[in-house]
């Protein structure tokens, strides 16, 4: 139980860090979107940043749900297969696909930019799929800690 609590706290802390990025990008007094010269295709900068913030929150929320769903499945639903352990990577990839889809939805349905449009798009994917990847690499239950590709090279606990 202690391990689960530590993992969940880790996920929340990581989420807060990513949430901080939204603040830096769109909410702070000197928003990064403005400093990086992201120009809205239509409407004012404030309207663009508000739309960006809303979509970023949606993507982050989807990513958090995907992360927690993966964690719950790995901790409580998966059973060690007998006689040979089976890979759960496909299930992990399905949740990753959900976060990527959320990113695409934000890019195509969210506010459009005429200049440097790749920056908010990158942010959607970083905040969605990136958060999911990092959170599952660092805080997956120990029995599936190396299911995320690359985890064995990054996780040493």
């Amino acid at each position: 139980m202690k391990k689960i609590i530590i993992d969940l706290i880790g996920i929340v802390v990581l989420y807060a860090l990513f949430f901080g990025l939204i603040y830096l990008m769109a909410i702070s007094s000197q928003p990064l979107l403005q400093r990086l010269n992201v120009v809205p295709a239509s409407g004012s900068g404030d309207e663009y940043r508000e739309g960006f913030r809303n979509w970023a929150l949606i993507v982050m929320a989807v990513s958090l749900v995907a992360t927690l769903a993966w964690y719950a499945l790995a901790q409580w639903a998966f059973r060690v297969a007998i006689p040979v352990a089976r890979s759960k990577r496909l299930i992990w990839l399905l949740w990753l696909a959900v976060t990527i889809l959320a990113g695409f939805a934000a890019v195509f349905l969210g506010p459009a930019a005429s200049v440097n449009a790749h920056i908010p798009a990158l942010f959607y994917f970083l905040g969605g799929a990136g958060f999911y990847y990092l959170a599952t690499i660092l805080f997956s239950p120990v029995s599936y800690k190396y299911t995320p590709p690359g985890a064995s090279a990054l996780r040493f606990f």
């Binding site: 060690v80 007998i82 040979v84 890979s87 120990v142 029995s143 190396y146 064995s152």
Partner: protein, 507 residues
């Protein structure tokens, strides 16, 4: 400490098998060097073959863990790879052993048949025991055994005994040497062999320097099993209905001849609920009486003897005031964990070690070993994080290591086969409440037991392996997770031992 176990006859071999399993579980003293000598006239005895196979499998695993865990901790060695037999290849009957003159043969006939020498003119009785093929054992005739032992056991000319005597003399210079002799006293080989060898040991070694650093223990098995007709009409065979009478006679004989005085401790083991053995046979490979829980009790007695401080197991200062150890259970028809005869202080630790080995054996056979093999062959190590942690990072798993894994798996299967037999009641109405054997074994059509298949195990699950120990319940997922969360020891072991150590510690 140097421990010796001289297992005489089929029952002695079965008790030795149980002792080897306790050694594997880490229930013998640590550090401990255990030398085992099997003695039997029937070299093809199935029980003996089985015990030697277990010993061999143990030896294949010994040294893998360098003492970092209790598994395979005792340094076991076989004094001989085959049982020592007092019967030669060319001399397998009383007549050929003694080569009697006519007068001596008449005396032998009087001793071994119903001939009455005071009645003249009787027809010659059938040769009976005089011509009996002794390579199938003494057929519960201790009188024949005693004659053969007395004639053939010679320290100077018998290699294992000469080697044993030399080893024991050397070892006792520096540390304590404990010798345990075990065998049944209701049959022929054990009843005659055990006291004869013990007396010789006592006279050859025990009397030197007043018995300092040298203790002999005795574990005679009283009747605890029986069997049906062996199917050899007209031949001389062991008669189970005579077991009790044989036992009484043997004990009387030992007592009157002062045999019991030089034993530091005597552990009498028997069971009033006689187990019905499945396959009656005279000898050779057919005589494979399945293991029985009484042998576990006996092995615990042996462990007690080895654990006892010098002099503690039987009186003080080597005086002939040895202790007599008897074990009994609370309920005649039920065997529980609390009935296992162990010292108060060690009971919980010993119990746990036995359960840990059982859980490890099941988990390894049904999950961890197939997974290691699968990852080794097919890759995708991410399926088993412990594989990456213990077998890939700064370590390697290759064909050599695969052989080590196979050795441990084979031993685990031997252990589970033993466990399934000792937990199977062979007496109507009897219940063994130690392990739930339905977790890892099934009954065949002929009522013999076999290890369960992977599918059968999946349905049963590991959680219910221990009976009456709910607080120790653990599923395979729990063990898997613990293994994934285990840190390797410092310095880490090499090869597959690193993973097995983590798995064992998680069980």
């Amino acid at each position: 400490m140097s421990c010796y176990l001289i297992a005489v006859g089929g029952t002695g071999a079965k008790i030795a098998e149980a002792t080897l399993h306790l050694a594997a579980a880490g229930i013998l003293p640590s550090p401990c060097e255990l030398s085992v000598l099997f003695v039997d006239t029937d070299e093809g005895n199935g029980s003996l073959g089985r015990a030697i196979r277990v010993a061999q499998r143990y030896l294949d695993c010994y040294g893998l863990f360098n003492g970092t865990i209790s598994l395979f901790n005792a340094n076991v060695n076989l004094v001989l790879r085959v049982p020592w037999s007092p019967i030669g290849k060319d001399t397998k009957t009383l007549r050929s052993i003694f080569a009697p003159t006519q007068v001596e043969e008449d005396v032998m006939r009087c001793l071994f048949t119903d001939t009455d020498p005071s009645v003249l003119g009787q027809p010659d009785p059938p040769p009976g025991e005089i011509e009996l093929d002794l390579t199938e054992g003494f057929r519960a005739r201790a009188a024949i055994g005693s004659a053969v032992w007395a004639h053939t056991l010679n320290w100077a000319q018998s290699r294992p005994f000469e080697q044993l005597a030399r080893e024991m003399r050397d070892k006792r210079q520096n540390h304590n040497v404990k010798v345990m002799l075990t065998g049944s006293i209701f049959g022929g080989t054990g009843a005659s062999g055990v006291p004869t060898i013990a007396r010789l040991l006592h006279e050859e070694i025990g009397k030197d320097t007043g018995g300092k650093n040298f203790e002999i223990g005795l574990l005679p098995a009283l009747p605890y099993f029986t069997y049906g007709d062996v199917g050899r009409p007209g031949e001389i065979t062991a008669d189970p209905s005579a077991f009790l009478a044989n036992t009484k006679q043997a004990l009387d004989y030992y007592e009157k001849r002062d045999y019991l005085k030089f034993f530091k401790a005597i552990y009498l083991i028997g069971d009033e609920c006689s187990a019905q053995m499945r396959k009656p046979a005279v000898g050779r490979g057919d005589q494979t009486n399945e293991p029985h829980y009484t042998e576990l009790m006996a092995a615990l007695g042996i462990a007690h003897f080895y654990h006892a401080a010098p002099g503690e197991a039987g009186g003080d200062g080597g005086k002939p005031t040895g202790h007599l150890y008897l074990s009994s259970r609370e309920n005649k028809f039920k065997l529980t964990w609390n009935d296992l005869p162990m010292d108060e202080g060690l009971h919980i630790a010993f119990e746990k070690k036995l359960r840990q080995l059982a859980r490890f054996a099941v988990a390894l056979r049904y999950c961890f070993e197939p997974t290691i093999t699968s990852v080794y062959k097919d890759g995708a190590a991410h399926r088993a994080p412990w594989y990456i942690d213990f077998l890939k990072r700064k370590n390697k798993f290759d064909e050599d290591q695969n052989r080590n894994l196979e050795s441990v798996k084979l031993y685990c299967e031997s252990f589970l086969e033993w466990l399934m037999d000792i937990t199977k009641p062979n007496t109507q109405g009897f219940e063994t409440r130690l392990f739930d054997r339905t977790v890892f074994c099934r009954e065949k059509d002929d009522r013999r037991l076999r290890l369960a298949s992977a599918d059968e195990f999946r349905l049963a699950g590991l959680e219910n392996l221990f009976v009456d120990r709910q607080e120790e319940r653990a599923s395979l997922d729990d063990i898997w997770a613990k293994a994934c969360d285990t840190k390797p020891p410092h310095p880490p072991l090499d090869g597959v031992a690193r993973a097995l150590q983590a798995i064992y510690s998680s069980c």
